[in-house]
Symmetry: C2
Subunit: 311 residues, 2 copies
């Protein structure tokens, strides 16, 4: 089938494109290189089933024009601001890159008659709620970051567009994803900073922040598996691994994988890394497990493999 | 105090302004007359504590300029598209008038240091869920209209902006509100159409659609009462009366109040009025009752009084 990967030059999007091409699909990638990079898709140059548009998805007329020309069977919407820390000081980044891009894609689907959608949501819609009781029906949804707020708004739009236009929609809420082509976050930062100075590392917070990290290969396999047969309406899954990594643990893994010893860790102190950060996070995965999917590696394994990927 | 009433030339906004001026506040009204009208605020012309800006709140730079000039103590955000039926065919109306106006007001509050907010939300965030179990923590929130979708998105933004900037925010979720200056909806339409032809009336659906109608005077009293002392963080209330009116019941009340007899009712048939409409609605009001507030009139009394108001 012919698919759109919106935000396909990004970290997760470009990994998804590799998998979709391997499955034989024709892939149209639209990206404005806001966070995505030319490097992430340069290996696809000349591929007969790959087409690229450099286009800002916040431009509705342009989005509709691409839809009219390409006639998609399926839309994978991966475009968003993914740097939560950056948007904490500039909420407009989320309004434009996360919410408006989603509205425009849904509106183009509505007017051009495309019915099937995958959407990357996030555990940030849960705010600072966490624990085994945080399943897909958890309430109240009280996001504490502009990123989580705009993703929740996108989920609202998806609910109404899906109902009004008989879409078949899959929504995954997942936490930190890591792996090749990663562009930011603790693992990426630690590698970058330890390359510059292998004797010491400054760590935001007290190092006890604890989150589950999911390897991008696991996520992409889950996306391609669950989009094969999609019922009408919106289906929402929490997706992730069961284990977690602490920030100090990540720093230790990075040092180990880089072969560094006696690195001095400095902590800025406090509960979280920055305001809007969720210092600890785990949620209920019963639904995706019941559907037969489990992450193939632990959080610490995903961190170690990512360090080798990005070194 | 000096307050902004965004969307103050609208039906609910203009009724709220009357109450705020009566309490001695200075009121700045901003409206672009998209749904609001000059007629709704013409009686305020020349009032020494009333200022009006004709301005589209979807223009962020203009909104910030007004905030910088006026230095508000409190923002009452009533601006939105309120005609759900109209936006069912044009979701962009909600994106611009409901979501973008809210983002801009929150962003202006953030940059200009305003901390207190009242926001009009809606029972439409609950989708077609209804019943005594639908309290403020009900989930999943799955709106079926673009209006409900964008209001849910606004609530997400409010959650994050309030957390990140230490706002004191009150959110009311309420269903149909009626009274003087009403511009659309069943009561308004029936009066208008029966004035044109007092012998017959076409009714969308089967007439059994049943909703609670709240008199605007009751809502305004509730808003002014609960905004007097506002804790930090977001406080959400379902607001409404306990009784409901059926569409056929409304038609009968309108005929009675207009002194019409033997009016022929024609039904278009089906469950609801249009796609995205919620044909029956009632929700849990325990929280607002526990806080000491009850609607002063039944739904049918509100309908009858509104017919007299708009005749």
């Amino acid at each position: 089938m012919k698919v759109l990967v919106a935000g396909g030059a990004g970290f997760i999007g470009s990994n998804l494109i590799d998998a979709l091409l391997a499955e034989g699909h024709s892939v149209v990638c639209v990206d404005n290189f806001f966070i995505g990079t030319r490097k992430n898709i340069e290996h696809l140059h000349g591929h007969e089933r790959f087409t690229f548009y450099e286009q800002d998805l916040a431009d509705l007329a342009a989005v509709k024009q691409i839809f009219r020309k390409e006639k998609f069977d399926f839309v994978f919407h991966m475009a968003a601001n993914s740097d939560i820390q950056a948007s904490a000081a500039a909420p407009e980044v989320e309004y434009k890159n996360t919410y408006t891009t989603t509205f425009n894609i849904l509106e183009a689907m509505r007017t051009e008659g495309v019915k099937r959608l995958f959407f990357c949501s996030t555990s940030a819609v849960y705010g600072d709620a966490q624990g085994a009781h945080v399943d897909e029906n958890y309430a109240p949804l009280a996001p504490i970051s502009y990123y989580g707020a705009c993703k929740l708004g996108c989920e609202g739009l998806i609910s109404a567009f899906t109902y009004m236009n008989d879409f078949h929609t899959l929504v995954f809420r997942f936490p930190n994803v890591i792996g090749p082509r990663l562009t930011h976050g603790a693992v990426f930062d630690f590698v970058k900073r330890l390359k510059a100075d292998p004797t010491q590392l400054t760590i935001l917070g007290d190092g006890h922040q604890c989150k589950p990290y999911l390897y991008v290969g696991d996520l992409v396999e889950c996306i391609t598996r669950f989009t094969k047969e999609l019922p009408q309406g919106v289906t929402v899954y929490n997706v992730g691994g069961e284990s977690q990594s602490t920030v100090t643990g990540i720093a230790q893994i990075v040092c180990r994988e880089m072969g560094l010893k006696n690195v001095q860790f400095h902590y800025t102190g406090g509960r979280g890394g920055w305001k809007g950060d969720v210092p600890e996070f785990a949620y209920n995965l019963d639904k995706i497990h019941a559907a037969g999917w489990h992450a193939s590696m632990t959080s610490d394994e995903a961190v170690a493999r990512t360090v080798r990927d990005v070194l």
